[in-house]
């Protein structure tokens, strides 16, 4: 296969990061398909220095295609406006700044700037992909045309069938994976755990896996757990190595996601792939990511969330159904299926100029 080179531009190139992982997989797909592809960055982790080049020294041909990964503000956006090449945008979503105003005003400012840059790039962009209908609608609202929903590429294990494993009525182990951030609303999960422990499951525990990126918010979560009397039942696991993350999924009885803003929500799919039943809030992209394979709530009141988890403990048939549906859902996102689908879309968009 041949065609114009498709070069990727990513402001921050980090291993283990969802965007970094996606970019590396896209590059491999393109190169395997015989398409020249280089990666240009503003900043890169030392481990990835030999995989990328600074964007300001990029020398690319006029008929090459540039694929910009948009998720934060960066000077790269301004530079792109002056480049002659055709531009595609891969939108990874920008969190609504209002979630960060209180806890991290500088981060909120960056998000506002990123959204301004998103609007500025719209007229320069030929086509865009987003990883959920929710994100695609944001692009369209900012003036983008020719927007498609495309898969996000991330590592997924082969499905783990735990269909026969019930959710225990006492001592259920709740899990959520995602950095401690206001939009992910870990406080609502802690509140729901407190409700469950005062009700039918006094032994329920919660593990929150995710880095303390917003210090004041993380401190407040720990204070909240103490105030509600569940400090000993909540484990703040911080950012963990892959093996420890795998163990957290293996040990979990239920995955609880009450995020209010997610552009996709990869951990929901990761939990499904490990056979963990999911209880999630109908907010942002989460319901379309989870589909029918999760218990989807319209309310994150602690009584409702606790009732949902306790419902699973007394309805093993529903749990088995959720585990089965979750495995099927996860299989749709397996790299073997998602990769070729994304490649086809990118080549169609890149070839359309």
């Amino acid at each position: 296969m041949s065609g114009p080179a498709i070069h990727q531009l990513v402001p921050s190139f980090v291993p283990g990061d969802a965007i970094g992982s996606h970019v590396r997989r896209v590059r491999r797909l393109l190169q395997d398909a015989g398409i020249e592809s280089r990666t240009f960055v503003s900043a890169a982790h030392p481990d990835l220095k030999n995989e990328c080049e600074p964007y300001r020294r990029a020398s690319v041909k006029a008929d090459d295609v540039l694929l910009y990964h948009l998720s934060c503000s960066d000077s790269m956006a301004g530079w792109l406006l002056s480049q002659p090449q055709r531009l595609l945008v891969d939108y990874h979503n920008i969190t609504e700044p209002r979630w960060f105003d209180r806890w991290a005003p500088l981060a909120a400012h960056d998000m506002r700037l990123a959204r301004l840059q998103m609007g500025t790039l719209a007229s320069r962009t030929e086509a865009a992909v987003a990883h959920s209908r929710f994100s695609a609608q944001e692009l369209e609202a900012h003036g983008y045309n020719n927007v498609e929903v495309a898969p996000l590429l991330f590592a997924l294990p082969a499905g783990v069938d735990r269909t026969d494993r019930p959710v225990p009525e006492r001592g259920a182990r709740w899990l959520f994976v995602g950095r401690l951030a206001p939009n992910k609303c870990q406080q609502a999960i802690i509140g729901a755990l407190a409700a469950a422990r005062r009700g039918p499951d006094p032994d329920a525990t919660l593990t929150l896996v995710g880095g303390r990126t917003i210090g004041p918010f993380a401190d407040e979560l720990q204070r909240l757990a103490g105030e509600l009397g569940v400090a000993a039942a909540v484990r703040f696991a911080d950012h963990v190595p892959d093996a420890e993350l795998e163990a957290a999924y293996r040990d979990a009885d239920v995955f609880v996601c009450l995020s209010r803003h997610e552009g996709f929500g990869a951990p929901v799919i990761e939990a499904m792939a490990r056979g963990v039943p999911v209880v999630a809030l109908r907010a942002a992209a989460v319901p379309e990511t989870a589909g029918d394979a999760a218990l989807v709530l319209d309310d994150d009141d602690p009584a409702v969330v606790a009732a949902a988890v306790c419902h699973l403990a007394t309805h093993s048939d529903l749990v088995a159904g959720l585990r089965r549906a979750g495995l099927e859902r996860a299989a749709q996102h397996a790299p073997g299926r998602a990769g070729p689908a994304l490649l086809r879309q990118l080549l169609d968009l890149a070839g359309g100029g």
Binding site: R102, A188, P302
Partner: protein, 138 residues
């Protein structure tokens, strides 16, 4: 806030009716605590909300986080903090004293300016009076 007694949710394409929590535990304190963590809505020109954000960050914590996944790094951070604390503390005291001194100087300057303005107004008044007298005698 109304307390939900039951809810209908979706799973596997069907409605699932959730029963209320057994024992109907009192969750007033839980809901109040969660309310306190709600985001501050910053509308343009909403000075009160902006001040709330300032208040959230007005307390500076001089203690950098010591946690680390590697115990050795955590201990190293602790030692570094102990070694640097007296310098940082001394500096902080001096910065505080300087700020206080600037406030005192600012207040004194403002007082002095007010005195000068009063003196200026009094002299102008006297001058006008002298001019008026000169006009009536000539």
């Amino acid at each position: 806030m109304p307390v939900p007694t039951s809810a209908v949710v979706r799973a596997l394409g069907e409605d699932v009716v959730l029963e209320p929590l057994p024992g109907a535990p009192d969750l007033t304190d839980v809901r109040d605590a969660l309310e306190r963590l709600a985001p501050v809505e910053l509308a343009p020109g909403d000075v009160r909300a902006a001040l709330a954000v300032v208040a959230e960050h007005a307390t500076l914590n001089p203690y950098a986080a010591l946690t680390s996944r590697h115990p050795a790094i955590a201990r190293l951070k602790l030692v570094t903090r102990k070694l640097t604390f007296f310098v940082a503390h001394s500096l902080a005291v001096q910065v505080t004293d300087l700020a206080h001194a600037l406030l005192v100087a600012g207040a004194a300057t403002a007082d002095r300016l007010e005195l000068l303005e009063e003196e200026n107004a009094r002299l102008r008044h006297d001058l006008d009076e002298l001019r008026r007298r000169q006009g009536t005698t000539s």
